[in-house]
Point group: C2
């Protein structure tokens, strides 16, 4: 078990901290930015994904949200094997659509012990099982914000990319999650859809 775990450890050189910058310029054009719960973000026409830290532009439209990739909080071994076998990496040539979905969860969520959070997340809400249905069409990377500091505006930033023909499937995925018991604990959510030129 230990040797197996070693083999899928991320190399230490792999970047973990990313900043999403809403700005006047950037490779991704914002198509829509919809606030589903809580406060909106200031409008910005474009988005850049930066490795490491970045500050919002000092003039014009702008915001910057940072998040860090981390260990899995709920995924069990059998689920990890299934996910790793099915998922695709970000940045495929055909993945000219993307979404950034910042969410925050309530104090009630964070006060739950691990077994009850897992039960809401998977036994009741099927978060992992729902996501699996859309692999490999939708690629994703989850960034944690809550433990970056004591006053982060969101708890998670999830970045997705996919080909234009999978946008409806992506909407279906989000609808299923938003209708799940887990989403009763979401108290802020923004859904930003993006497009880039084919490379």
């Amino acid at each position: 078990m230990k040797a197996e775990a070693m083999s899928d450890a991320a190399p230490s050189s792999q970047p973990r901290l990313f900043t999403f910058v809403g700005a006047d310029l950037g490779p991704w054009a914002v198509r829509t930015a919809r606030t589903l719960m809580g406060d909106a973000l200031p409008p910005a026409p474009c988005l850049q994904v930066v490795e490491g830290t970045a500050v919002p532009p000092s003039h014009g439209a702008g915001w910057a949200l940072a998040g860090i990739t981390s260990n899995e909080r709920y995924v069990e071994r059998h689920e990890k094997v299934a996910l790793v076998g099915a998922q695709a990496g970000l940045g495929r040539a055909q993945a000219t659509r993307a979404a950034l979905i910042p969410i925050r969860k309530s104090a009630a969520w964070w006060a739950l012990p691990q077994d009850e959070r897992r039960a809401v997340f998977e036994s009741q809400s099927h978060h992992i099982a729902i996501g699996m249905r859309y692999l490999p069409a939708v690629a994703r990377r989850l960034h944690h914000c809550r433990d970056l500091g004591p006053a982060e505006p969101f708890d998670f930033l999830t970045w997705f990319d996919y080909a234009p023909e999978h946008e409806l499937a992506f909407d279906e995925l989000l609808k299923a999650l938003r209708n799940s018991p887990e989403w009763a604990y979401v108290d802020r959510e923004v859904d930003i859809r993006l497009v880039r030129e084919p490379t």
Copy 2:
């Protein structure tokens, strides 16, 4: 379940980020600083516990380690109820001894899925059960560092305080944990013991 969870949510005004500063001056005097695994910390005669961020002193002895309190990663409801019923808060008048124990875990640990980390932590190592035996004599607060940024020197800082007559019990607690399977995943550990004047 939701109402119950609400009731034990920490008030949002409670500080989460703390910095431990090794310096020439401070309310805690360093009695010993022992490196059990990995690199040592620079020597410092005293320690201050600061709410929020702090930088090490610009001259003389000094280091600063920051960590943030967070949600439980392994504790289940029955364990949480038992812990909350037994534990004491930090800062009791008789708690004139303290320990700061920074640790880092290996890439192999962080690559394990949640169920396997929980199995090592509790089913195999009895981390929660061992700690329970020393409540309320030993009070503790766990700070997470790993998701503060991509290059933190430790993953966790645990701060303990207790009365002088419980130092031997505290040593027993650490011995049991260090002999457990979980500790095979610890790749850096420093054990700093402190004393303050009675107030």
